[in-house]
């Protein structure tokens, strides 16, 4: 990797002003687990790498009443997976972070990097869309929050502007009576990236009647795909086996999945149906996790 300048700012403000000056030829590097592979394969050739490694102010995980979980962008996926706060407030999210790559990757990769990379075959984005999480982005122009439902644009493409850094992930608390589930389905080695990821968030009344249902599939398209009809099909009803089957069928038939080495479009359609069913079953209580 010849002739690449490395900038190592020590604060977010310094990083933002460097980024604003350097412009398009700069790539941000945090854990480097994705970026270094892209460099080695010569998919990108930036003139400058802006390392966020010194921004210790972005390494925090806390919970705030009325806001939810706040995870600094530089927190490693491993730390998020093992955090007692994350495990307490969003056990499914902790488990999902634990499904990324392998432990060596998770020790280096960061929560902010994972979202900013926007790899279509990644686990956290799918669940975080279902949880209605938000990303906080900063630039010298100011700060804004982006709902993850609007954050992903296409393959490796987000709504982040070139001068913006993802500084924080905010995951709101689940509504009372809600349970979530995430399934990573791999079609090859157990360490493969998902062929299909499936997140379900289910909210029920004490009577058992469903008040809301969200289903999001990952790795089947350029960006996470939410089944828009899920809530309407489930609302006011008990999530019976036949209703689960009906929703799963509708979701699968509504998606036009991509084909890659992990499975053809036809295969992914079958798997979306199966995993949507299993995720709803897990969320509705058959599973040990909420």
């Amino acid at each position: 990797m010849p002739n690449i300048k490395l900038s190592q700012p020590n604060s977010v403000d310094e990083a933002l002003s460097l980024l604003a000056k350097e412009g398009d030829q700069t790539k941000i590097i945090a854990g480097g687990t994705a970026l270094v592979i892209m460099l080695k394969n010569r998919l990108i050739s930036p003139s400058t790498l802006l390392s966020l490694g010194g921004l210790n102010e972005l390494r925090y995980i806390r919970h705030e009443a009325g806001v939810g979980l706040r995870i600094g962008g530089l927190v490693t996926i491993r730390d998020a997976e093992n955090s007692s706060v994350v495990r307490d407030k969003h056990p499914t999210l902790a488990l999902t972070f634990g499904k990324v790559g392998n432990v060596r990757v998770r020790n280096a990769a960061t929560v902010g990097g994972n979202l900013s990379e926007a790899d279509y075959a990644s686990d956290p984005p799918c669940l975080l869309v279902a949880l209605r999480a938000r990303a906080r982005a900063r630039s010298i122009r100011g700060e804004r929050e982006i709902s993850l439902t609007d954050f992903f644009k296409g393959f490796y493409e987000t709504t982040l502007a070139p001068d913006e850094i993802l500084t924080e992930l905010i995951v709101p608390d689940l509504a009372p009576g809600s349970r979530s589930a995430y399934i990573k389905y791999v079609s090859r080695s157990s360490e493969d990236r998902p062929c299909v990821g499936m997140a379900a968030v289910l909210t029920t009344e004490p009577s058992g009647a469903c008040t809301d249902l969200r289903l999001v599939a990952g790795a089947v398209s350029e960006i996470p795909v939410e089944f828009a009809g899920a809530g309407a099909m489930a609302r006011g009803k008990h999530l019976s086996d036949s209703l689960i089957q009906e929703i799963a069928e509708s979701f699968a038939s509504s998606v036009d999945p991509l084909s890659d080495l992990r499975g053809s479009a036809w295969y992914r359609k079958q798997i979306i149906r199966v995993m949507a069913r299993r995720a709803m079953q897990q969320a509705s209580g058959a599973s040990q996790f909420n």
Partner: protein, 315 residues
Amino acid sequence: MATPTTSAASIKLNADGSLNVLTSSVEMGQGLKTALAQIAASEAELPVHRVRVSEPDTAFTPFDLMTAASRATFCMGTAIRRAVHQVKEQLLEAAAAQLEAAKEDLVLSDGKVMVRGVQSRSISYADIVRLTKTNNLLGHGIFVAGSGPDGSPVVMDFETGQGYGSAEWHPAVVACEVEVDTDTGRVKVTRLHGELYVGKVINPRLCQLQVEGAMLFALGQVLFEELSTDTNGGITNPNLSDYMLPSFEDVPPQLTVHLLEPHGVTDVHGIGETSLPPVRPAIANAICRAIGARILDLPITPEKVLRALEGQRKI
């Protein structure tokens, strides 16, 4: 084992009585340096910690065809034994003069030459090397595979690929149990057992581990490994993120190996790949027994299994 085949080794017995093996065979995690040191130590009647095996440097170390095809322990091991034999002859010649005994009455044991039955009349290898004033004793050994398992000449027709491909047979049997998720077609190998003829075992633990490695290698070929090419023949998955090998989670919960080593057997056998080929039909047969459909092209992906299951559901 590939044929024709040639391995050469040089041995240097040092002035301190330790032994160096010069070889071009490659240690790649299979434990070859350990096995070759054991062979040299055993032949030279030395403790194994007194033997050092070189790294390969083909500019200086003697010729070896390759470290592949389950051949290194057998072929290089034989060359080393022959090289050590030359050194032993020199030891016996020199010791016979020093101990005033006939060569036939001398025995080698634990780095010493002694008169048979007379413990007190002995001389260490180090003392012999010093007495010869050469400061080291050298030996060379070459192994060239000459005949096939039935004694007929090893002849391979490279045009047709016909003929003897090996100087020895490598018999193995593999049995397995699989679980198939009939919703997704995903296969989990739950039990895998290899039973193979190994001849004389040099190092039981390394032998066991190498056989396990061969079986996991084959498991990857059956279930995961697939080269993908574009229309120009370029490989589109030339990395371990896109080209899949098994991970630890894919290792069958029950993975067992039994080594068949007949009592009193002396011939050393290559075992690197013996248990590899039968893993493929064993897993394929188990999947066939589980789902009632036979899948003939590897790897047996979940998609192929699901398509086979769908085909049956339609009947």
